[in-house]
Chain length 187, copies 2
């Protein structure tokens, strides 16, 4: 590996992407379904909507609506109307949905990662994260980073709800601070 032209790395990323996508056709679910379940598992309460999911996946509203219908029919996702904004519906994983994530085909991929050396892993994670941010920024798409890395994230030093979102004016707990957020803007 004496040379590493950019186009070669790009081709590797694309090829690996396809490989993972074809692995993801497990348990009768399609790749986009797995992505949806993972998103709902990791997103905070402000981001559990079809609109946020649409932005995350980079698809159109109609497509996402259909996928969610399919997942709801399968009993993996639940939709409830938001009482504050009655246009919106709040999404959540059902117990079945959460259970299914234990069989996430991504765990297979995770094992192949395990074969890398610790330093290679760190470097890989760094590079991929940088690349992803870069790529999303050039398309004016949200980063969906962790809450705690957001410019609106503040510490209040209170028990139970030690953090605070200055954008939504909402208290945050430890778990919130680790979730990914639709509104997140890197500090």
């Amino acid at each position: 590996m004496k040379e590493a032209p950019d186009i070669h790395i790009a081709a590797l990323l694309e090829r690996i992407g396809r490989l993972l996508a074809s692995d993801a056709q497990a348990n009768g679910l399609l790749p986009v379904h797995w992505e949806t379940l993972r998103y709902l598992d990791r997103a905070n309460r402000f981001s559990m909507t079809a609109a946020a999911l649409t932005a995350y996946l980079g698809l159109t509203k109609g497509t996402v609506s259909q996928s969610l219908n399919s997942l709801e029919t399968k009993g993996l996702v639940r939709k409830r109307v938001d009482l504050r904004d009655r246009r919106s519906k709040r999404l959540s994983l059902t117990a079945e949905g959460k259970a299914l994530l234990k069989n996430d085909p991504l765990l297979l991929t995770s094992q192949a990662i395990n074969a890398l050396s610790p330093s290679a892993k760190d470097a890989l994670a760094d590079s991929l994260q940088t690349f992803l941010s870069q790529r999303l920024a050039t398309q004016d798409r949200q980063a969906f980073g962790q809450c705690r890395d957001c410019r609106y994230f503040a510490r209040r030093h209170e028990k139970g709800k030690p953090f605070f979102c200055q954008l939504l004016q909402e208290p945050l707990n430890e778990s919130d601070s680790l979730s990914i957020c639709y509104e997140q803007q890197p500090a």
Copy 2:
């Protein structure tokens, strides 16, 4: 980035894969079409068949057959029956197909890669290559590596055709040695 758990890296890879796939819907072509054009551009003469492409993409024969028909109708790919083995058809890119590769959406990705430091690039290429080989091996799938990295690759020190394939008993030139091959087995 103090921690880099395997599952996190796996999720990054999957997310980036989807991102690239949605970019790849350019020029009216679908992601799998671009992958096909790129494959035919990089494969050696022993690997320009639907069967090899099927193994490369990890899809079924039927699906690939349909994709190729679509590309042939668009005038990007040509099919000709192989005179030695009349079951087989030899694929090739048309002039239009080669020209279209100049607009490969992968070039966009390539630019985002460019933002990384040289050392990060090298590390990234290494890690991705290792990961890909690992992943393909566990599924008993071919590596599709470069001809010159194959255990059947030999040097003959003759002009014009300086190399030789000990598996297919065929002379190879410089260009052959750089192509990816269906039969390739890492040395």
